[in-house]
Symmetry: C2
């Protein structure tokens, strides 16, 4: 029995069997309950019926992929690990910075600590952008579906992934990109039996299809089959999500967008303020860079308090916070947050200028995330867990605590 | 306007008027509501009626004086500042250590940081044991009622306190020990006008008298008069408590005590385990070192899980936790916590051996604290506060956040 591992002031017991944490991108709880109700997800159905334990947890705000994946693998909020979106505005350099470089990560991961202590660790992500952050300073296997055909022993700790999985490398906009992750997880468990494994998918399907639709149920049936195999192999499986997902359009199918930079330019003059959408990344086809969370940088001669009240009065806005309020409440890194934080309602997204969003890639009415309306996510484990505190506020970044400490 | 001050990863705005935080020892909320209902606390009455803002906050567990005072002045839980009781058992040295030495403090205080940045800070405590911890590394005025006649400019930043207050130095077991704190606070505000002031009383009265009794109402009337004066002087006043207080006796007036060391000795043999009561300190006359929280140190050859279940089945026990569960949930420092944490119910306390508790000093039926039944405490401020998040879980150690950031 090895001694406990401490990561970011939290303590994790050494595993006595493989522990797998699965982060299902954009997995609003209703996707699971609808697939179970439709009878296409029997493993998850048994788990919900009592063979396992299921909670509703709060994800990190902004409810985006990178902040939440990093919170899950560090067990800590963005104020600790520093990653609070895909983009931030560097106040000192005056430039927008993409946040997918490990140098911007301020905390160690659970993988790095366990692999240092001799655990066999495997990490599989859908997109490669996340792989570099999650794999920072860990030893072991770490690769993405997206670049599964480019793995090397030196960079990824594994070779011949495509052969092992038995699927061609999928398109970055496909359900198969996530399926590749699950199948790889099962194959790795059979062949390598890692002590600790993390599987992180992409939300391409969730952006396109509502819970209970055929497209969504197909995805969750595929997931269910693979999870059942991992369960059969004796792993403790914790399933959670980086964020939920909601429809962001009106009845006619048009997205409900507040073009906040246009609005602020109209009020205060061209580019007096700077609106940053931290959802922005190179893969925008499925959401057009439109989410329910925005940062506003305000020059010193503008009264930020009055501006907050004016923004709060716009239809479709859920809350407007000062930088201090937002950092305090959402546990965000102060130096990477704007002077004003704007969160839109469940059915509304925030854009910059209308002419800067290319919505031609939206083949179906917009579904997206980013706000507090996408904060509730599933947190499930294939074990019965006795907790002393029934009123615990579960976070998705308690996933490793649940898997390593509570589900023995 | 000075820049924000960061203490233990939390950010505090510079005050634009004096901010006073008052920690009323053992102030179960009902003491305030009963005094207001009796008409003897008109200032607090107005505050409750809407001139101010009032929350029910959670204190730190164990609900004892030192852990909570240190949490309030560091803005952080015991896992950060290290002080989790009056006593802990040093596993490495094999000895019980009293935790009132600043060398055991692991975090800086809000006072030290603000005084470093040029703020005028004043701290007044009832007992001297707390004074040394609270005043650690701060510049400014810091003294106790207990030793008010022994102050020096070098040690306390002030002289002639007894003359300033105009009261004789009170007995350490008296209501006057706390009254001295309040009167000193008013005099200091008149004479020195500190930017930041902290007043911390003792719970002698609360251990003796239930809410609404004449003795309790007299105390709260005295407090109300002094708070009204501080309000008149223009200060923002935040009032909170270190812990609540409950009756711990049966109807015949006898204390409900589980003598846990006796019980464990009977089960496992003499002194096989070690029970630590972190309430123990040199001032035990008013509670006999009996509270609702105990630590048990267990030798390696004893099955701690089975022992937890056995203790949990004792009548009067509220919860029994593993060391990891307790540290995780209550945010306690792992190295200073026993293998088992035992919390008794609202009406029950935990002792070691019956012959080690001198209850002869208990002139009235036992009232005490330490458990989760004493976790709810008032958190009030003499300003109307607009909060964006109505469901915020307030902690008593949000007092300076409330006073400096939210009540402008």
């Amino acid at each position: 029995m090895k001694s406990d591992i401490i990561v970011n002031d939290r303590r994790y017991q050494w595993m006595n069997r493989p522990v797998v944490v699965v982060c299902v991108d954009g997995c609003q709880y209703e996707y699971i309950s609808a697939a179970v109700a439709a009878g296409v997800a029997p493993f998850l159905g048994k788990l919900l019926a009592g063979s396992g334990t299921s909670y509703l947890a709060d994800c990190v705000i902004p409810s985006f992929t990178n902040p939440n994946n990093l919170s899950i693998v560090t067990g800590a909020p963005p104020s600790v690990h520093g990653i609070c979106g895909n983009y931030f505005f560097d106040r000192e350099r005056g430039e927008e910075v993409m946040m997918n470089d490990p140098r911007l990560l301020r905390a160690g991961t659970i993988f790095a600590a366990f692999s240092d202590a001799g655990a066999k660790v495997a990490v599989v992500t859908a997109k490669d952008k996340l792989r570099k952050l999650l794999g920072h300073q860990m030893k072991g296997i770490c690769f993405s579906s997206e670049k599964a055909d480019q793995v090397t022993l030196a960079e990824n700790g594994i070779t011949n992934v495509v052969e092992m999985v038995g699927m061609p490398v999928p398109s970055v906009y496909s359900a198969e990109l996530s399926e590749f992750v699950f199948v790889a997880g099962v194959k790795l468990m059979e062949r390598e039996r890692p002590d600790l494994m993390y599987l992180s998918t992409t939300d391409y399907i969730q952006h396109k299809a509502a819970p209970g639709t055929a497209m969504a149920n197909d995805f969750y049936a595929m997931m269910d089959r693979n999870l059942a195999q991992l369960d059969q192999l004796g792993a403790i499986i914790v399933l959670t999500a980086d964020h939920g997902m909601n429809a962001k359009h009106s009845e006619d199918g048009q997205p409900n967008v507040i073009y906040l930079q246009d609005t602020l330019d109209g009020w205060l003059g061209q580019n007096r303020t700077r609106v940053i959408l931290p959802i922005t990344d190179p893969y925008v086809v499925h959401h057009g860079a439109l989410g329910s969370f925005a940062l506003v940088y305000v020059p010193e001669d503008v009264d930020a308090g009055a501006l907050r009240e004016r923004i709060a009065a716009l239809p479709g806005i859920e809350m407007v916070l000062s930088r201090l309020e937002a950092c305090d409440h959402f546990e965000l890194p102060f130096d990477r947050i704007g002077d004003i934080v704007v969160v839109s309602r469940q059915d509304t997204v925030i854009g910059t200028n209308a002419d800067r969003h290319d919505l031609s890639g939206l083949e179906v009415p917009l579904r997206s995330h980013g706000g507090v309306s996408e904060q509730k996510v599933p947190l499930m484990v294939n074990r019965q867990v006795k907790t002393v505190f029934p009123d615990r506020r579960w976070r998705n970044f308690d996933a490793f605590d649940l898997g390593l400490n509570l589900a023995r």
